[in-house]
């Protein structure tokens, strides 16, 4: 939607391929954390619940809705105020999502609070570092590695 201002089969299929790494790394990291301690649920059920009512979906809907009101130029380069609002909402989303997942580890997987905190941090560290490495690719090495 952000690319062309409309939903098409082509863009949806292409986006699904491009971003398949997000659920892949999320499930892989969750699988690792799931195996570390209590397992009161089957893995498939636990994954289903982990993704259910995910706040990311609501945020993405809002973000997509923004595009309806922007010209192509403004879609490419958002006004600063709007960009700031998006950033603030994103940070809020991160906190909300972390709180929700911490409660999932504690209440649904029945892990003590400290262990739930450890699991949350571990899951985030694995999933996000892998996703960032995939998304950024060799660019990260270039910026860190430096040149003369």
């Amino acid at each position: 939607m952000w690319i062309s201002g409309r939903l098409t089969i082509r863009l949806i299929a292409d986006g699904a391929v491009s971003f398949v790494f997000v659920p892949f790394f999320t499930i892989a990291s969750f699988a690792l954390v799931y195996r570390l301690s209590n397992r009161p649920l089957r893995f498939t059920r636990a994954v289903d619940l982990f993704f259910a009512a995910n706040p990311w979906l609501a945020w993405l809907v809002g973000f997509i809705a923004l595009r309806c009101f922007l010209t192509p130029v403004r879609a490419a380069v958002m006004p600063r105020g709007l960009w700031l609002a998006v950033e603030v909402s994103f940070v809020t989303l991160l906190a909300w999502s972390a709180w929700r997942d911490w409660r999932f580890f504690r209440d649904v997987l029945q892990r003590p609070s400290t262990r739930a905190t450890r699991d949350l941090l571990l899951q985030r560290a694995i999933a996000w570092s892998c996703a960032l490495a995939w998304f950024q690719g060799p660019a990260a090495a270039g910026l860190l590695g430096g040149a003369r």
Binding site: W2, S4, R6, T8, A52, N54, A76, A139, A147
Partner: protein, 291 residues
């Protein structure tokens, strides 16, 4: 209630996708020739999702470029050439715009577009050495958004650049960006380039370069850039390039070329139905979990 919300959401999504797909067609424009030269709309700075923080696959950018009215583009992975090779293979095999295999060489001291190359160029070298390597491979070297990272360009590097981005989406964001790009360009003998630095937001080719090429081939485009036969329209339609070519481009109405994104009723149906449909599905999902 939850079920009906989700069903209605699904129906709206089908309508949104159908409406969007109906107008999702390549733009076929008749070839434009000016005084024996082909006028080609080119975007020299495009990223794909193959390790280059883009939203479309390397073949997806080919299809998108076709729809955004580009005759050619350079697929420029960050410090990587794989994306460009896949895009080039796809366009050659299945048709589409001309694809220049490229790379955005990214370092903390300079960002450089290498277009029309055959092998990856290392980023652990000076800008001068990287430009020399681009030229050895038969490509062109373009300073990428030189308002940001320019410390790495010494006098030799500035002299050897083939092009410099004078139009980049950042000119629409910062009031000083256009001046910064112009100041950098004034230090070089490079031809002006317009590039969209396409990742995910907005259309490809938002900023584009008109290249006047002897033929519509990668070699023709590279030769046209080296010969300074480029015209770029920046903020407020201000034209950059050789005055003679600006005049010719003006006579052919290139300044008024159609924007990369249409605004048909189907596009609006797709937008509105898509957003409401997704919202209903999200609300239904929340309701399902609560139950």
């Amino acid at each position: 209630m939850t079920g009906s919300r989700r069903s209605l959401g699904a129906i709206l999504m089908v309508i949104a996708i159908a409406a969007g797909t109906l107008v999702d067609r390549p733009r076929h424009q008749p070839p434009l020739t000016i005084d024996g030269f082909r006028a080609l709309a080119v975007d020299f700075h495009v990223h794909s999702s193959l390790w280059s923080s883009g939203a479309l696959t390397p073949w997806g950018v080919v299809l998108q470029a076709e729809r955004d009215g580009l005759d050619a583009f350079a697929s420029t992975g960050h410090n990587a050439i794989a994306s460009g090779k896949v895009s080039h293979w796809f366009a050659t095999r299945f048709g589409g715009p001309i694809v220049l295999v490229g790379e955005e060489i990214r370092t903390p001291r300079y960002h450089l577009i290498a277009a029309g190359i055959t092998r990856q160029i290392g980023f652990r070298q000076t800008a001068e050495a990287a430009i020399a390597e681009v030229h050895r491979q038969g490509g062109i070297a373009i300073a990428a958004h030189p308002g940001l990272e320019t410390r790495g360009y010494d006098a030799t590097a500035l002299r050897e650049l083939d092009g410099t981005e004078i139009c980049h989406p950042m000119i629409y964001q910062r009031s000083t960006a256009q001046r910064d790009l112009e100041e950098f360009a004034s230090l070089t003998h490079a031809t002006p380039i317009g590039s969209s630095d396409f990742h995910a937001f907005g259309p490809m080719g938002l900023c584009r370069t008109w290249v006047f090429a002897r033929d519509d081939s990668p070699q023709g485009i590279i030769e046209g850039v080296r010969a300074h036969r480029t015209v770029v329209y920046g903020l407020g339609g201000k034209a950059y390039g050789d005055p003679e070519w600006i005049a010719r481009a003006g006579r052919c109405g290139l300044r008024d070329a159609p924007p990369p994104e249409g605004n048909s009723p189907f596009t609006w149906i797709s937008r509105i139905a898509g957003v409401i449909g997704l919202a209903l599905i999200a609300m239904g999902e929340v309701g399902r979990t609560a139950e």
